[in-house]
């Protein structure tokens, strides 16, 4: 079992993915936490643009980060599986190429929020995705997440 996800590891993702030109967004609760949502989670979820080129770049970046990707596993990422769960590296990572409730990466990218250089899905997209997923754990977190969105919007209007 990998150690818990640390801020320095998020920085490594940001820097290594940028260096390799990977198109991605933080999504899910890890994305909400980057936006200031006070809650707990276990791993980071990344929404990656689904293209052969981006898959290739992601494989290079993940290997650089220390994930143990055999050629077969790398090919699964390159071929664009919709969901890849990595527990073979320095931290756990979920790669989501087709999140529930979000039509296209480019639309989500246009709505993204940057926090300290981290590209993050908008709160609306995070909420829409969780609502569409409709798992018990997502349903439980939605009321608080929606309250946070209201708080966050108020703060933004105030320039906070």
């Amino acid at each position: 079992m990998a150690a818990k996800f640390e801020y320095t590891q998020a920085e490594e993702i940001r820097d290594v993915f940028a260096r390799n030109g990977v198109r991605y967004l933080f999504i899910g609760k890890s994305g909400a936490i980057l936006l200031g949502f006070p809650d707990t989670t276990q791993d980071a979820d990344l929404f990656l643009e689904k293209s052969a080129e981006n898959g290739e770049r992601a494989v290079d970046a993940l290997r650089e980060l220390g994930f143990d990707l055999s050629d077969d596993r790398a090919n699964e990422i390159r071929r664009g599986k919709d969901f890849v769960q990595l527990k073979n590296g320095p931290f756990d990572l979920d790669l989501v190429f087709a999140p529930d409730g979000i039509e296209t990466f480019s639309e989500a990218w246009a709505r993204r929020i940057e926090v300290e250089g981290f590209p993050v899905c908008s709160l609306d997209d995070i909420i829409v995705s969780k609502a569409a997923t409709n798992r018990v754990k997502d349903r439980e977190s939605l009321p608080r997440l929606r309250a946070f969105r209201q708080y966050w919007e108020r703060q933004r209007r105030r320039g906070g």
Binding site: L34, T40, T41
Partner: protein, 79 residues
Amino acid sequence: MDTEPPSLPEPSPEQLREWELEFEAAARRPLRQRFKYAFIRTYKPVLDDAPFRAFSTTREYREWCERNLPSWLGYGREV
């Protein structure tokens, strides 16, 4: 996968006020510190038992979770 899920009750005004205080407290902390409190690590049976899984579709992944994970982990539509 097509049944309507049970909806949670709306949060009470007291609950909303309590959350608001938590949001304000979090906003006063730097991101690095928020990370320290936010990311935890506990063993999740079945889910943590394979180093790599790939699913052709997100729906396939959701169905795998429904079939294979203990319901109390919350990855399914019902507990």
